[in-house]
């Protein structure tokens, strides 16, 4: 696949996450078609990077989180990689938008965590997790629509 790729690396600290998020948002608004929301892609990437910092590295500083942004003919792909503790594949498999449903009668039982993966799976078209040779990558793919909507946005306006 012909593509353009940009790699961002941050130290594993929550304060750095917004840097990556804003950069991705900027990249998406610059290069991808109007039917893709830069905010939504940013949200998914932020969730993924948060997971790396909080779970793979247990909030320990001094490790790398690598974010690769690639633009293909019909899709954009963001890989978020760490070298920490691998995630159990089942978390991803079981994450489902149904987990976001709420029970009105049980506000106390409302979860305060665990919405990250379901959000990612709902927004992205494909989410693949691979753990190989000590490196864990969550690969997020979003396809562009077809026809009219794929025109590039002009004037750098937000695609929302």
């Amino acid at each position: 696949m012909e593509h353009k790729e940009i790699k961002l690396v941050i130290d594993s600290e929550l304060k750095n996450v917004s840097l990556v998020g804003r950069t991705i948002n900027g990249l998406v608004s610059m290069v991808s078609p109007c039917d893709i929301s830069p905010h939504d892609i940013e949200l998914c990437v932020v969730e993924a990077v948060n997971n790396c910092v909080e779970h793979a590295y247990g909030k320990q500083r001094g490790h790398e989180v690598e974010v690769r942004f690639a633009l293909g003919q019909d899709r954009l792909v963001v890989d978020v990689c760490d070298t920490g503790k691998p995630m159990d594949q089942r978390h991803l498999a079981e994450a489902d938008v149904a987990m976001l449903e709420i029970d009105h009668d049980d506000i106390d039982g409302l979860a305060e965590q665990g919405r990250g993966l379901p959000i990612i799976k709902e927004i992205m078209d494909a989410v693949i997790y691979q753990s190989k040779g000590g490196k864990n990558c969550l690969s997020l793919t979003k396809f562009f629509g077809s026809g009219e909507k794929t025109r590039r946005c002009t004037g750098g306006q937000d695609g929302d």
Binding site: A93, V97, I128, T141, F143
Partner: protein
Amino acid sequence: MTKNAKTSKTAVTDFQKSILYHVKYSSGKSRDQASMRDYYKAVALAVRERLVDVMLATKARYEGEDAKRLYYLSMEFLMGRALGNNLYNLGIFDLAKDALSDMGIDMEEIRNSEVDAALGNGGLGRLAACFLDSLATLGLPGYGYGINYEFGIFRQEIDNGHQKERPDHWYSEENPWLMERLEEACIVPVYGRIEHLPDRSGNDNPMWLGWNILIGVPHDVPIVGFGGKTVNYLRLFSARSSDEFDMRIFNEGDYFKAVQQKISSETVSKVLYPCDSVEPGKELRLVQEYFLVACAVRDIMRRYLGDHETLDAFADKVAIQLNDTHPALTVAELVRTFIDEHDLDWEEAWQITEATLGYTNHTLLPEALETWPVPLLEHVLPRHLQIIYEINHRFLKKVSARWPNDGDRVRRMSIIEEGDTKQVRMAHLSIVGSHSVNGVAALHSELVKTSLVPDFYQLWPEKFNNKTNGVTQRRWLLKSNPLLSELITETIGDGWIIDSGKLRQLEAYADDDAFQKRFLDIKKANKEKLAEVILDTTRVQVDPETLFDVQIKRIHEYKRQLLGVLHIIYQYLHLVNDHVELTVPKTYVFAGKAAPGYFLAKLIINLICSVGDVINKDRRVNRQMKVAFMPDYRVSLAERIVPAADLSQQISTAGMEASGTGNMKLAMNGALTIGTLDGANVEILEEVGEENIYIFGLKVEDIRHMRNGGGYDPWAYYNENPNIKRVMDAIGSGMFSPQNPGLFHPICDSILRHGDYYFHLADFQPYLETQEKASREYRDRSLWARKAILNVARTGKFSSDRTILEYAREIWNLQPVP
């Protein structure tokens, strides 16, 4: 195996030099200007150098022994990609990979730059390709003869669930594997009229005059056998305009007449007809068939007469196999050549023709049996029609002598079908003109004898035989499934690559825990790779942990993709309405092209895609089912799907699939077959054992009975089986086409109102139960692994090497020239 061939430094450097040479001098580019496609071409040309060396040596070997040659005439050759296959067969795959990676180039990317040579529609064309691989591997002097179509089978795109046909230009002009042989071009007359003029002795001498000219230019594709010792070739003819040859025609004297070209000659090899049953009366198709036959016969005669003074030994030195009736005109063309150009008398000419020709039947479908209108034949090939009449006249005399006063039989057997427009029956012409007639699976060959042409079987039982199809394990296992190949070789050695019977030795490991685990891990890895391709091509994300249920083949009602869809809908409704979870989560993979004019087949594609859309988006399904229709099914895509399949759908209406070869490829790669007793499924059952295959449904006799007795009423099934009713109602209600609720009514009608000719509803319940059994057994991973391993171990019979050895021994009398 290739691994063992230690790649020496110098060999790697030499190969690199050769690549760089071709980048520079064949593409005319510097290294940094060269694109991936330039590199692909350079690598192919570097490989071709090696092929040519062996090809010349092979030719000398055959000539030295005056070997008998086999010519496999086929309108279709579905070759797929050649680079990987050539590298494996030459034993230099690893060398090439090392050479490339040293230059910073990824072998996979290079291989993916190659366009499939898709000069065929389906099984018949792919069979021809597998045969060429086996002939070369076995050191047999056998060549493929076909047409160098500028456009092969169309490229299929799926647009909003609809098949769109796009032209497939397979770049024949710049294809690195094709070698043009301008010096061996031949002249083919077509059209014109017959004039009865007396010859010198005053006898009647019908002369074919006033014809137009086609020029056939051969292009050779080298075909290397495994081990790299033999390189045969596939000769593909392009039709050219005759302008540049006009002078020569004049110079050859008064036998030739320069004539005005009435047809644009080059259109003849322009495009492959994208249909398995050619629409009758297509003049261009008839000209194409004749063009192949005429070019081939001229070429064969030239080679034979180069080494022999007389035609006495022709049938001892030449065997010609007709791949279905498409090249059936060979019968008339040989007779014509012998009589008109070499002055043989009829009896001699006929005897040689019959002894030379063999005919393979590929279909029992009445609509696929080729006939040509007599007026058309008279217009295009007047002399050939005359000869066909003479053949028929002499043949019917024999029939009448054997069965006096049986006018019905004479009418049934005649090569000419009477009627408003008389038709030439090409199958009858082929049977009469050949010494051998074979079917392509045991069941099919029986049906040829008993149902298709029983009269001919009674007359010549000795002509009829069976040659069960096969597939080359080199492409379909060694190359397409490298992980499994490595495991097999590590376990039992590499002998299986040229002797598929050795796969039996794997039986000993079927219950071995460690082997089972590795086998399952490999299947999983293949499924992961396929999942990526599915995502890339369909945007559907599938889970490699699920059971991969695949149905990949041309889309046709008799192959019953529809039965598969009915079952999927049943499962879906059961899941979301009855809240019953599937026994095992499943991914359904479909792929296949529909003939552009086949409305229902295209609607079935639409239905698969629409059902997929609904299911894939329905949250309630919750990962239990996914349906993917992968666009543009072709050899290279099949090579990705086959190694990743768990369950192989072979569910044609019994008695309709001649053999099938997809069933063999899939079983060989450890997919379990769910199928009817049709085609080669019957023999797969015999080989793998009934506990390792899922057989269901009506048998040939049942179907014959139900058709004849007229006792089949699809409405009764609909009314009595609530599962069927629910599924049919869902389709009819527009559940899968909310924008256009009537969209799929023609499908419902074909089943409920028009009698369900292919017995979908009669086989539905048994199919559902058998699917359920397969799902249950899949959950027992060790049990499933055992069955899958036994499938690999026991499908050695289905190597095309076995098939070709049988043809060589029993039909062609062909000896290896090692």
